[in-house]
């Protein structure tokens, strides 16, 4: 009974983690950017979606759609205002670009967090469930909403997989992650590809934020934790590897759920951190990363 409960809850949480992390890893793979404002973008989607749904009667779906659009806009703002100026700056040497992007997106994330805190307080917000009711799976009462969320996550992950592996656009993205210089020599505009990947990222992060708000509730103080968990999952799986991120999402999701149910909810984040340290020590490139 408890085992089944852990299995179901862990699955839903892990799917959500996976969805949150693949955008993050995609953007690193294609443009080499580690976006530490990730949690902030999810936060914007969640809080603005809630704002429209709860205060303006847009309902669960209207709120969710609005949240995703806001996440997309936030992603564009991050790219054009923070990341692109650094990539184009002549004053920043190329080998230090990474550190500058990390610091700048970290600051940007803090600005988003404190800004949202100021506008909407840091009370946790919860989107209304998309479908009400509970159903019984092998005797475990599970909210239908939780099942729907897991399904949406997997459908989206499947769509991203199709997009990357079976379309012309996806081939360009793959090529950009392997050898950007050769791609530009073949006549493709690299900045267009970056724009596309930030669009995909915005939609994924927005969706993950909205679903998280519908599942758990999100507060502005959790932006840092959201970034940290995406960062953990992506590094554990291997930077830039989408399958690796998915595997890592399940490792982290189940490690947290098991600890929360069997030991104590307060110790929830610890086992995942220890797994991370051990894996990185034995295998510095992560579970499925390439050197």
């Amino acid at each position: 009974m408890l085992a089944l409960q852990i299995l179901i809850d862990g699955f839903a949480i892990s799917s959500l983690y996976g969805l949150g992390a693949i955008g993050f890893t995609l953007i690193f793979g294609v443009s080499g950017v580690l976006n530490l404002a990730h949690g902030g973008i999810m936060l914007i989607a969640a809080v603005l979606g809630w704002w429209l749904a709860a205060n303006h009667g847009a309902g669960a779906y209207g709120g969710a759609a609005f949240g995703i659009v806001c996440g997309l806009i936030a992603s564009f703002v991050t790219y054009f205002l923070v990341v692109r100026p650094i990539q184009r700056s002549r004053a920043i040497p190329a080998e230090e670009e990474e550190i500058f992007v990390l610091t700048a997106t970290l600051l940007w994330g803090i600005m988003i967090q404190t800004g949202m805190d100021y506008l909407f307080t840091d009370n946790p917000v919860t989107l209304p469930a998309m479908i009400p009711g509970v159903m019984s799976i092998g005797g475990v009462r599970t909210p239908r909403n939780e099942i729907l969320i897991a399904i949406i996550c997997w459908v989206t992950i499947g769509l991203v997989w199709l997009l990357v592996n079976h379309t012309r656009l996806g081939k360009q993205l793959l090529a950009a992650s392997i050898n950007p210089r050769a791609l530009t020599l073949l006549g493709f505009e690299l900045s267009r590809i970056h724009l596309i990947v930030w669009t995909i990222y915005g939609v994924l992060a927005g969706l993950a934020g909205v679903l998280l708000a519908s599942f758990f509730g999100v507060s502005s103080s959790s932006a840092g934790d959201l970034t940290a968990s995406a960062f953990t999952i992506v590094i554990l799986g291997g930077l830039g590897s989408v399958p690796g991120s998915l595997v890592a999402a399940y490792v982290v999701g189940y490690a947290e759920t098991l600890t929360a149910y069997l030991i104590a909810p307060t110790l929830r984040p610890i086992p995942a951190l220890i797994i991370l340290v051990v894996v990185l020590y034995v295998r510095p490139q992560g579970l499925l990363g390439r050197r």
Partner: protein
């Protein structure tokens, strides 16, 4: 020459501050000076050794809590400080271990994890550490604001001289070389491991000692003042704002942050927003920071 004159002027200004500054602002500057030491110690690792260390507060927290716990066990302040610093150096060695194998963001994440685990440990062992509320220490450095100011000021100046000296010595140069291209530095016959470990120990020494002294200045050690990730972010911001790879820029950045925090207090919650926005602009438009901008080579003119 102008550089040294300016530095001497600032030292005189700082040294005479208790004569003309009110008690409240003395307190603000005292905290600011300890902060400046955190920033300089971090710059040695980041600017020179090229280590993306998101966890300066791991070292600071170990020093602060180590000293505080031992003081609660009945050790005197000097001995507690020595032991706390030793614990911090142990922490530095612990961080240096993964630094041998991991680079860039991978290492950055490990340091982040180190801070998170320390935070968890403090909460779990709330019996000794006071948990989220913080831990009182029985002894304080002094109850006079002026004497506390002197302690902090002298400590900061000595740290600045030593760290600046190290950064300009052969050790600093070799660290810079290993940070930029460790393979080539090794090929030139420098022992990369040895220098990197040395950098971690030095950084941990100053971080831990400053953390311990801050604890005995405030009379408490709490998660919010010495371990929280927000503190780590402020340290990083201070260094980048003042100018990375300058050591002394950290002082400028730390004092800017602390003063701005006071000046913007009427803004309430928005003050972090404004400080972050200003720093972001500095990063985007003057990536070398204030000191780097002021003393950039004027060869092009």
């Amino acid at each position: 020459m102008r550089k040294y004159l300016g530095a001497a002027l600032l030292v005189i200004l700082g040294a005479t501050a208790p004569m003309w500054l009110g008690g409240y602002y003395l307190g603000v500057f005292t905290t600011g000076f300890y902060f400046a030491v955190f920033a300089m110690a971090w710059d040695l690792l980041f600017g020179f050794a090229g280590m993306v260390n998101f966890g300066p507060t791991f070292l600071i927290g170990l020093g602060a809590y180590g000293a505080g716990i031992l003081n609660n066990q009945g050790l005197g302040i000097p001995l507690s400080l020595v032991c706390g610093t030793a614990i911090a150096i142990g922490g530095g060695l612990l961080l240096a271990l993964p630094a041998m194998r991991l680079r860039g963001p991978y290492f950055g994440l490990i340091t982040l994890v180190a801070v998170l685990l320390l935070l968890d440990a403090i909460v779990i062992f709330a019996g000794t550490t006071g948990g989220e509320i913080g831990m009182m220490v029985p002894d304080v450095l002094s109850i006079s604001a002026r004497v506390n100011y002197w302690y902090a000021f002298v400590f900061m100046v000595i740290s600045a001289v030593i760290l600046y000296g190290i950064s300009r010595s052969s050790l600093g140069l070799i660290l810079q070389a290993t940070g930029q291209d460790s393979v080539e530095a090794a090929a030139l016959g420098f022992n990369v491991t040895k220098h990197r470990v040395a950098a971690f120990c030095i950084s941990a020494f100053f971080s831990g000692l400053a953390g311990g002294m801050l604890t005995f200045y405030q009379g408490t050690a709490s998660v919010d003042t010495v371990v929280d990730l927000a503190i780590a972010v402020q340290i990083i911001v201070a260094v980048v704002f003042g100018g990375r790879r300058t050591i002394l820029g950290g002082i400028l950045g730390a004092i800017f942050l602390i003063l701005f925090d006071e000046l913007l207090r009427p803004l309430g919650q928005l003050n972090t927003f404004v400080v972050s926005a200003i720093t972001l602009c500095v990063i985007l438009f003057f990536p070398d920071g204030v000191l780097g901008f002021a003393f950039r080579p004027r060869a092009r003119q």
